[in-house]
Structures are given as structure tokens and as C-alpha cells.
């Protein structure tokens, strides 16, 4: 009889379903995964070390580069940590704006996750639709702060500037005639809030389209039901958070349990899974998008009625307006000192956690009173989830490894930091 041996297979780092540069060493017995050993760090940029050599404000844009599919919530955790150390109050309008953009990021993140997850396991169509909706949200971000992806929009003490009164419009060119441009610009005639409101009206329809495409789809269910099952006890041991924890049936959401900003004023529900498999986590994410849509609407209503400042007037933390800076010596000095030497954060440490679309994202900031952080530890949701791949893949077929990687909502920028 022939001698049958296990063999190892390198999955990635250049595999399209590895969501970046993940190297997964799989030990296979035939087609069954016996052991999965993820090798990470191929995208390690040493963000935490870099932060130690930059001022508190210069560190902020690095946070965008962590999870490059939902950038703004990472900034949020960092700003919260710095604000706690400084003890500054964030104006209420800025808090609403932050909550609104966090939820936009949540929709954006889940759209990408569900689209690419479906793409990985054989449903090509989904990604085309989800990217269409993401495009609208990117346009909204571009109108707000000029940048589509790495916004650096949240600042310690508030947000960089108020929401714009108008949206950029499409122009006629040799590819788009007057009729097409008119149709494309229909939603863009009002302010950003009008544009977003139009989006929230359209989005439930899109969501039901996704449900039609996937939820009862036989192939989708064959590929996801019963794959990567994690019991609630194991989910706690493995340090899960976010949709992964809720998918296993534990009702835990920082937005409800330890509310930050104005989440305690929002009306929304937390979806919870039952079986803890890939399909349940998919359903949790779908429902989270619907709930995020609700929160965005509440924010839009409030923001329409309540104008006000969006950043603190403490000029040791946030710069004065351009107008004041040009007219007053005092403000000019503030501006200069803030952008050269930077702000001094009182000695101490703060651990600020938020409900990132992928789970709990936290920044542990340690300051010794200097203009630069002493240590920044970034806790991103992806690490414990990826560490659990071994356990989730064991005993499954090779093809299911792709489904597991899709379900943990993996972004390597987030894991490697």
C-alpha cells in the first residue's frame, strides 16, 4: 500500500482571496485542513514606533492607514484617547458628525466584506453591486474633506471642518452627454446632508436586493452554513469582538454597553446570531447595515436643525480659524506653535475603545507630558480573529479556508499595523 503523507500548501501571500498579503501555511490531509498557520507581518509598517517619533497631531493620519477599508473609526479611537488625556470637551455637533461618519464607515466596510466574501466563494455579481454603493459614500467623504480614502477628518477636540453646503457635480464630457449628467446629478443638487438622505432612502432597497441575491441562495448557503462554527465559550476564549462575537450569540456592542459620543441618544438594535457559523455572521453584518442606516438618518435630522461649532475653541489643542489667525498676533502664535511643536498632552495613560465595524478597536495611549506620544498601542479587531483561523479551519476542506478568511473580515493593514 502506498504511503500517504500530509503535505503543506502555501496560501498567499499573493493569493487574491487572501485579502492582502497574508501567508497561510496549510497542512493538508488530502483536501482536509489539519493545521493552518497564518504568517503575518508582511505589511508591518511599525505604526506604533513611528507614532513615538511624531507629534500627537502628526500621528493621526497613520491611523487611517491601519484598516484601509474603514478608515474613519480608527481615527475616532485615537482622538478619543487623546481627548481623554487632555480632558477637552468635544462640541455636540462634532459628536453627531462623528457618529454619522462612523456609521457610514460601517456600511462601507460591510459592503466591501460581503461583496468580496461572495466573490471569494463564487458569487461574482455581489461585488459589482456593493462597490456601486460604496462609490456614493466615497463621494460624500470627498465632499466633506477632499479625500476619498484616508481622510484625517477627525481631530482631537472635534472634526476638521463643518459639513459642506453643496456636493460636487458631474460635468459633461465626451463620454457623458447632457442627459446622463443630469441624471447623475439629480441627488447632488442639495447639500451633503440631502445627498446622504437620498442615499439612506435608496439603501434599504439595495439591501433587499442583496438579500435576494444571497440570503436564500442555495450555493451561498452550502458554502457558509456550518462553516467555521465558534461556540460562545470559545469566542470569549479567543478574544472575539464585534460581529464575530455577536455571530456566536453573545449580545455585546460597545455602542450600547459603553456608549461614547452620542450613541446613547440613538435608537438602534443589535443583531445577534444563533449558530456562530459563517452564515450567521453574514446575517449579522447585513442587519448591522440596516441599523447603521437608521442611525445615519437620526444624525441627519439632528444635524439639519442644530448648527454650531464643530471643534473645540481651546487653541492649545485645535487651531484657530484662518480669519482669526490672520488678524491676531496671539492666534498666530497659537497656530504656529500647534503645527510646529504640537500640543503637549498631560502625563498619563488612557485606553479608548470603540465599536469598529470589525470589532473592538482601541488605542492605548501613554504620555509622559511631551509633545509626542510615549507609547501608542493599537488594538485592532483583526488580530484575535485571524489568530483563530487555525481553530476555525481545522477539519474543513481547503475551499472552506477561503470562506473562513472571508468571514473574519480580514484586512492586513489592520492586523499588521
Amino acid at each position: 500500500m502506498a504511503d500517504i503523507k500530509n503535505y503543506t500548501l502555501n496560501f498567499g501571500p499573493q493569493h487574491p482571496a487572501a485579502h492582502g498579503v497574508l501567508r497561510l501555511v496549510l497542512e493538508l490531509d488530502g483536501e482536509v485542513v489539519v493545521r493552518a498557520d497564518p504568517h503575518i507581518g508582511l505589511l508591518h509598517r511599525g505604526t506604533e514606533k513611528l507614532a513615538e517619533t511624531r507629534t500627537w497631531l502628526q500621528t493621526l493620519p497613520y491611523l487611517d492607514r491601519l484598516d484601509y477599508t474603514s478608515m474613519i473609526p480608527s481615527e475616532h479611537a485615537y482622538c478619543l484617547a487623546v481627548e481623554r488625556l487632555l480632558g477637552v470637551e468635544v462640541p455636540i455637533r462634532a459628536q453627531y458628525i462623528r457618529v454619522m461618519f462612523d456609521e457610514i464607515a460601517r456600511i462601507k466596510n460591510h459592503l466591501l466584506n460581503i461583496g468580496t466574501h461572495a466573490l471569494d466563494i463564487g458569487a461574482m455579481t455581489m461585488v459589482l453591486y456593493t462597490f456601486r454603493e460604496r462609490e456614493d459614500l466615497f463621494d460624500a467623504l470627498e465632499a466633506t474633506c477632499g479625500i476619498r480614502m484616508h481622510q484625517a477628518y477627525y481631530r482631537p477636540g472635534g472634526v476638521y471642518r463643518d459639513l459642506p453646503d453643496q456636493m460636487p457635480k458631474y460635468k459633461e464630457n465626451k463620454f457623458k452627454n447632457a442627459q446622463t449628467v443630469k441624471e447623475l446629478n439629480e441627488a447632488r443638487n442639495g447639500s451633503l446632508l440631502d445627498f446622504l438622505e437620498d442615499f439612506t432612502n435608496r439603501f434599504p432597497v439595495y439591501l433587499s436586493e442583496y438579500h435576494t441575491l444571497l440570503t436564500d441562495n442555495r450555493i451561498w448557503k452550502q458554502r457558509t452554513v456550518g462553516i467555521g462554527v465558534v461556540s460562545p465559550e470559545r469566542a470569549l476564549q479567543l478574544g472575539f469582538s464585534g460581529a464575530m462575537l455577536r455571530g456566536s450569540g453573545i449580545e455585546w456592542d460597545l455602542r450600547k454597553k459603553q456608549p461614547y459620543e452620542v450613541y446613547d441618544r440613538m435608537d438602534f438594535d443589535i443583531p445577534v446570531g444563533v449558530n456562530g457559523d459563517t452564515y450567521d455572521r453574514y446575517l449579522v453584518r447585513m442587519e448591522e447595515m440596516a441599523q447603521a442606516n437608521r442611525i445615519i438618518r437620526q444624525c441627519i435630522d439632528w444635524l439639519r436643525k442644530n448648527p454650531g461649532p464643530v471643534i473645540t475653541d481651546d487653541h492649545k489643542v485645535a487651531p484657530p480659524s484662518r480669519e482669526k489667525m490672520k488678524g491676531s498676533m496671539e492666534e498666530l502664535i497659537h497656530h504656529f506653535k500647534l503645527f510646529s511643536e504640537g500640543m503637549h498632552v498631560p502625563a498619563g495613560e488612557a485606553y479608548a475603545a470603540i465599536e469598529h465595524p470589525k470589532g473592538e478597536m482601541a488605542v492605548w495611549a501613554v504620555s509622559d507630558g511631551a509633545n509626542k506620544p510615549y507609547r501608542i498601542k493599537l488594538h485592532t479587531a483583526g488580530i484575535p480573529h485571524l489568530a483563530a483561523t487555525d481553530e476555525m479551519c481545522r477539519g474543513h476542506m481547503l475551499a472552506d479556508a477561503t470562506a473562513v478568511i472571508g468571514t473574519i473580515d480580514l484586512v492586513l493593514g489592520d492586523v499588521d499595523r
Binding site: T55, R84, H344, Y351, A362, N371, K372, I383, A387
Partner: protein
């Protein structure tokens, strides 16, 4: 919120007595220092004791205190952020490694399995050894990397750089060629800076 945190502080003192340091509340979180000798036992009790029930280890990270302004003491610490879903509270546990030259702590992998990767990371970046860890390999740095990059005495640009050598037709490592520079210096201001009453 703060009444709840004070209750946690009181319970910590009642249950552990002298085995842990004085719990302090800073910025809405309780922090406690644990001596290396009692570290594992305290952590196990924090998880199992229903008075605490910290089911989740949210984060474990190393820190190097060697250049902290005005600090004198042990250099390396492993800092854990615990979360209890039952009580909805958090706790930070700091364990200092006694030997600065060869920092060793006990591993908490058996208490929370998630610690596996966190401890590998702390070992990789700070060189803290975790006794009893099943698989203490490097996690983030390159295969064959030398040194522990997040220690304060490790330069930001590192020691070696990688490039393609056209003569040898392969990728080689060589000493770094970039000059270290600091655009904005690191400054710690004296106590009353900018508060008036000075010479100005």
C-alpha cells in the same frame, strides 16, 4: 460609572490584599500593578472569580519604560486590558518583569487562549519572554530578523536595509544608508509652562 469603578477597586483590595498594588482610577479605567511572581495566579482568579469574571482579554502589549520622563524602576512590563461582559467593566493589569536584561513573565495562554498572538507580538517587539508559551515565535518582523524593534534603544530606521544587488542577482541586506534625522524635537515642558507668573 465611577461608583462602579470604586466597587471594583474595593473588591480588588479585598480579594487580593497585598498581592496586588494599589488600584488607581485614571480616565475612567481601573489600573492595577501585579508582581511578576503572582501574575498568573492573579490573572486566573480574575477570570474565574464571579466577583470579577473577566472573560475577555482584550489586549496584551509590552512597554519599555526606560526613557519615560522621571521614571525609575523596572524597564519592561506586559500590560493587559481585561473586559468583563457580565459586569460590563474593564481592568488594566500591569506586570513588570524583574530582570531588565532578560525580561521573563509567565504566560497566560492557558487562561485566555487569545494571549497566544499577543505574547508572541510582545516577545517579537520587546523581547519579553513568556514562560510556558506553547509556540513563542516572532510574529510581525521579517524571517531572520535580529533585535527587538520597539525597545527604546532601537533606532527608528533600524540597522539593516534590503536591496536588490544586480551583480549577485539576488536580494541582499546591508547596513542602513539613510541618515537619522528629527524634524520636531521631543520636548517635555516644565510644570508651569505657559501659565504666567514666570519671567515673561
Amino acid at each position: 460609572m465611577s461608583a462602579k469603578l470604586e466597587r471594583l477597586c474595593r473588591q480588588l483590595k479585598e480579594s487580593f490584599g497585598d498581592r496586588v498594588g494599589e488600584p488607581v482610577i485614571n480616565h475612567g479605567e481601573v489600573s492595577v500593578a501585579v508582581p511578576a511572581a503572582d501574575y498568573l495566579a492573579v490573572m486566573r482568579q480574575l477570570r474565574d472569580d464571579p466577583a470579577f469574571s473577566f472573560e475577555l482579554l482584550m489586549d496584551l502589549s509590552g512597554i519599555d519604560y526606560s526613557e519615560f520622563t522621571g521614571y525609575q524602576g523596572m524597564r519592561f512590563a506586559a500590560v493587559s486590558q481585561l473586559l468583563s461582559i457580565t459586569h460590563n467593566w474593564r481592568l488594566q493589569v500591569k506586570a513588570f518583569a524583574i530582570d531588565d536584561e532578560f525580561p521573563v513573565l509567565e504566560s497566560v495562554v492557558d487562561v485566555w487562549n487569545v494571549a497566544n498572538w499577543y505574547e508572541r507580538e510582545a516577545f517579537d517587539l520587546f523581547g519579553i519572554h513568556f514562560e510556558g508559551h506553547p509556540d513563542l515565535r516572532r510574529l510581525l518582523t521579517d524571517y531572520g530578523f535580529v533585535g527587538h524593534p520597539f525597545r527604546k534603544d532601537f533606532p527608528i530606521s533600524g540597522y539593516v536595509e534590503m536591496r536588490y544587488d544586480p551583480e549577485q542577482k539576488r536580494v541582499i541586506y546591508q547596513p542602513v544608508t539613510i541618515e537619522p534625522r528629527e524634524v520636531t524635537p521631543r520636548i517635555v515642558r516644565e510644570e508651569n509652562y505657559g501659565k504666567g507668573g514666570g519671567r515673561g
